[in-house]
Structure formats: C-alpha cells, structure tokens
C-alpha cells in the first residue's frame, strides 16, 4: 500500500526546507504532495478534514519554528488549529496521528526528508484510512 499524503507548507520555512531537501538530493518517498500556502496560519481545519474525506491517508502541516514565523504568530494559530483538528479526528474515530504538524526551517532539508520518510512508514504500518 502506498499512502497518499497531502501536505500544507508555509512559503518561508516548510516549503523552503523542502526545497533544500531537493537541492541537497535527500531522497524521500513520492507519497507526499505539497500545497504551498504563505503561512501555516492559513491552513484551515476544513482543508485537512476534506483531504481525509476525499481519501487522503495522512496530512502534514509544516510551518516555521515557534518565534520564527514570518508573520509573527501565524504558526501559533496553526499549532492551535492542528491540535483542535486532532481532537476532532479523535472524537470521530480517526487516528489523530494521521495528521502531523512539524516545524521545518529553511535550513532543515534533512529533517523534512526524514519527516516524510517516517510519516510514510507510519501510515504504511497503520494501513489506509478508507479500505
């Protein structure tokens, strides 16, 4: 089974980190497809829930580390919303670990690749969301 992961990456850190992974040729599985947003604070719980509703196996949100947000505090909102969405997922019986929030800086290409690898392995282990 190949998991399908939808990722929302902020332009300044997460996306830049993914770029650096590319420039550094860090290999990771092609399970992940990236949607670029300007700030992780733009990510709405509904984006995440719709992804699951439509059949995504995992959703990844990446933003700047705390205190590094390009927009001062957007990542704090992202943190709050992802936490909230995890609770909602749990309440309706979806494993909240299918949703992951990671702070990935523009210098953390290796971390990004590792995150994708680990997340993919985890999703492979727990199997698809919709069978």
């Amino acid at each position: 089974m190949t998991p399908n992961i939808v990722a929302f990456l902020c332009n300044w850190c997460g996306y830049a980190g993914a770029d650096l992974a590319g420039v550094s040729r860090f290999q990771y599985p092609p399970t992940i497809k990236i949607i670029r947003v300007m700030c992780s604070g733009r990510v709405d719980p509904v984006f995440i829930l719709r992804a699951f509703e439509n059949g995504a196996d995992g959703v990844l949100v990446c933003g700047c580390h705390i205190n590094d947000c390009h927009y001062i505090s957007g990542n704090l909102q992202a943190e709050k919303r992802v936490e909230k969405t995890k609770q909602l997922l749990k309440a309706i019986g979806i494993n909240p670990d299918r949703l992951r929030l990671e702070w990935v800086s523009a210098a953390e290409g290796a971390k990004f690749a590792t995150v994708v690898k680990e997340f993919t392995e985890f999703l492979e282990k727990i199997g698809p969301l919709i069978t």
């Binding site: 709405d44 719980p45 509904v46 829930l49 719709r50 699951f52 509703e53 909230k84 609770q87 909602l88 749990k90 309440a91 309706i92 019986g93 979806i94 969301l129 919709i130 069978t131």
Partner: protein, 375 residues
C-alpha cells in the same frame, strides 16, 4: 401533527396564498424572503431560488400559524434535497466543518471514540437500560474552544446526582440532523442506521437526548426516513420534569436570579415541549422566571439551523431577541446548544466601547447542574 401523514409536496397544495406565513416570519420583516412565494413558485413549477431556500431557518413559526397546516420547513428541506441531487451545495457557516465531520462519521470504515471525553468522576454503566445520547457536543466544545458548552458533562452529572448511571455509546455518531436539513439524505441515513443499530444492540430501553435536534431526529425523522426502532426517546427536560414530579429531583439551594427561557424551535414548536423545562426551572428556590413576549409557540429562534444562513439578517433577529431577553431578565436559559452558541457569539462579538449585551446566557443543563452545585 400533519407532518407524518402527507409528504411536503402534497401538503403545499393546500396553500391558498394567504400570506400569514410571510407576515409572521421574522425574516419577512427585514428581507424579501417569503415562504408564500417559495411555495407558489414550486407549485407553478418554477425553479426555487437557492439563496432563499438557504435563508429559511426552518423554525416553523410560519407553519404554526398556517391555517392549512402546511409544513413549510419540511417543504424547504425537500427542496434543498432536490438541489443537492442536482449537484448544488448550499454554503454553510464555519466553512462547513460540521457537515464534513458528519459525513466522515457516516463512512462506516472506522468507529467514533469518546473515550477521553468525560472526566473520570462521571459514572456510566455498560448495562444500564437508560442511555444518554450526547450528539455532537464533544465536537462543538473542541471547535469552539470550550467557550460556550459544557452541556453533556453537566447532563450526566445531573443523572449521577439522581443516582442514575446511564449508558453512553462511545461509538455513537452524529444524529445526522444537519445533513438531513441540508438535504443530504444519503449520509443522514447512514448515520441513522449506525445509531439505531448500536442502541438496539446494547439493550437500551430509554434514550435521553440533550440536544433538541437529536430529539427531533430520533423522534420524527428516523422512523420516517431510516427505520423504526424498539426503544423510547425522551428529552432531558422531560426526563427531569418526571423526576421532579416523582420527588427525586430536589433543589436545596436558593438561586436568586431573574431568568427567561428561550424555546428552541425543535423542542418547542416541533415537538411541543414547553412546560417540562419551565417546571424544572421554577422548582429552583429564588428563581424568578419571566416570559418574553414572544415565547412558547410564538418564540423567535436564534436564526440559524443546520449551520446555514448565518448572516446579517439572522444577526438582526438575534440582536432583537437578545435585547428582548435582556429587558426582563439577567440570565437567558437556552435549551439547545445551537441557540447557546449563536447567542453567545453575538454577546461576545467585537465591541469597541461598552458591551451591548450584559445578560448571562446559559444552557438549561448547565444551569441545573449549577443550581445543584455540581460544578
């Protein structure tokens, strides 16, 4: 209640365009919304304006005044269903998160889980014949960041106080009310089947609902649109009223407050439960229960159901209603989580200078729990 006898399509044929519905509709006063015209257009075979369909709060104030007993809300829902069948989706507030969650629950590929939701001191029994159905309360609490609702926990605390350890189905799903009223019958049925099957399987005799929407759905809509079932359903207010009459529910503490009660459209007009909550509230020593001019059958609703049509018009209705309550009471008791959320949203909205609304808005269950000092 004619609603059970005839289909909405048949019912509207009785309409003779008298206009009582539009005249009484709180939206009619401030907008061009007209139930009468909607029906007329439908009867003429003209397309129904989707925006107007979304605008109706399905509160049934109109139907309660209709001399021909046309159930306008039912008609509106049917029309929404048709729209949906044609591929059109009506916008919902909160970016449609609650119907998305409901649809996710309708997929039977996983089981819902309420394990960590209730605090440890709350007691349940897996073998109880009484079940408390908590609906989407945990979702609301999470989404609204525990700002408004502590309803389910209060309700169970009250039951425990009455020495009742109810069953709770940790795998319960949304009753489907909002999907149903948004016209999504397919997913509504999926949810209904899950709930009925689950409740029957667990040997339940009595289901106590804490949300009027669940109550209506179980009572009226499951039998018609899903299937009949072998358990009884009662609202929390009615249940407490019975306990009061039996003498098991006693309020030992004095609560000096002037309150007024907001009749939820589902519980009041649609199911006729007016006295039960009032009886319970009046039994609390020190309580002065004042009635708003428009109450019981004439009650004005919070303006929104099924998360549709939250806009300036429904806000105008809410503003009006909240001021009405504020003129006579210091506390507004609601009995539907939706009323509670919507009125509190208005109360807490941005205000540069002083807050316009000073009254406290509390849910019936929470208020009773407080009156019993259950925290």
């Amino acid at each position: 209640m004619n609603v059970l006898k005839l289909s909405p399509e048949e019912l509207i044929k009785y309409c003779y365009q008298c206009g009582r519905c539009t005249g009484i509709c709180p939206l009619g006063e401030i907008s061009f919304y007209s139930p009468r015209i909607l029906i007329h257009n439908a009867l003429m075979g003209k397309p129904v304006d989707p925006q107007r369909l979304a605008q109706c709060s399905t509160c049934d104030l109109c139907s309660s005044k209709c001399p021909m007993d046309v159930m306008i809300s039912e008609f509106v829902r049917e029309e929404r269903h048709k729209l949906r069948q044609s591929g059109m989706i009506l916008e919902e507030a909160h970016f449609g998160i609650f119907s998305t969650l409901a649809r996710l629950m309708a997929k039977k590929t996983w089981k819902a889980n309420l394990n960590d939701y209730f605090p440890k001191e709350i007691q349940f029994s897996d073998t109880s014949e009484i079940l408390i159905f908590t609906g989407c309360m945990s979702l609301f609490e999470t989404y609204f960041e525990y700002k408004y609702t502590n309803i389910a926990k209060s309700a169970v605390k009250i039951l425990n106080h009455l020495k009742i350890k109810p069953q709770i189905l940790k795998e319960q799903v949304c009753c489907g009310h909002d999907l149903f009223w948004g016209g999504d019958y397919e997913n509504f049925r999926l949810l209904g089947e899950q709930n009925i099957e689950l409740i029957e399987r667990n040997g339940v005799e009595l289901v106590i609902t804490i949300c009027p929407e669940c109550y209506r759905t179980f009572k009226l809509d499951y039998p018609r649109y899903v299937r009949n079932y072998n358990f009884k359903v009662i609202s929390f207010s009615e249940f407490l009223d019975l306990e009061l009459k039996e003498g098991t529910l006693i309020f030992p503490y004095e609560i000096p407050r002037t309150i007024t009660y907001q009749d939820p459209c589902r519980l009041g007009r649609q199911l006729g439960v007016y006295d039960a909550p009032r009886n319970v509230l009046k039994a609390i020593p020190g309580i002065k229960l004042k009635e708003m001019e428009r109450s019981r059958e004439d009650a004005i609703c919070c303006g929104v159901s099924a998360w549709m049509n939250c806009n300036l018009y429904s806000k105008a209705i809410r503003m009006d209603r909240l001021l009405e309550a504020q003129q006579i009471a210091d506390t507004l008791i609601t009995n539907c989580p939706h009323c509670l959320i919507h009125f509190n949203c208005l109360k807490n909205e941005y205000a540069e200078t002083e807050k316009k609304y000073t009254l406290e808005i509390l849910d019936f269950k929470e208020f009773i729990a407080k009156a019993l000092l259950l925290g």
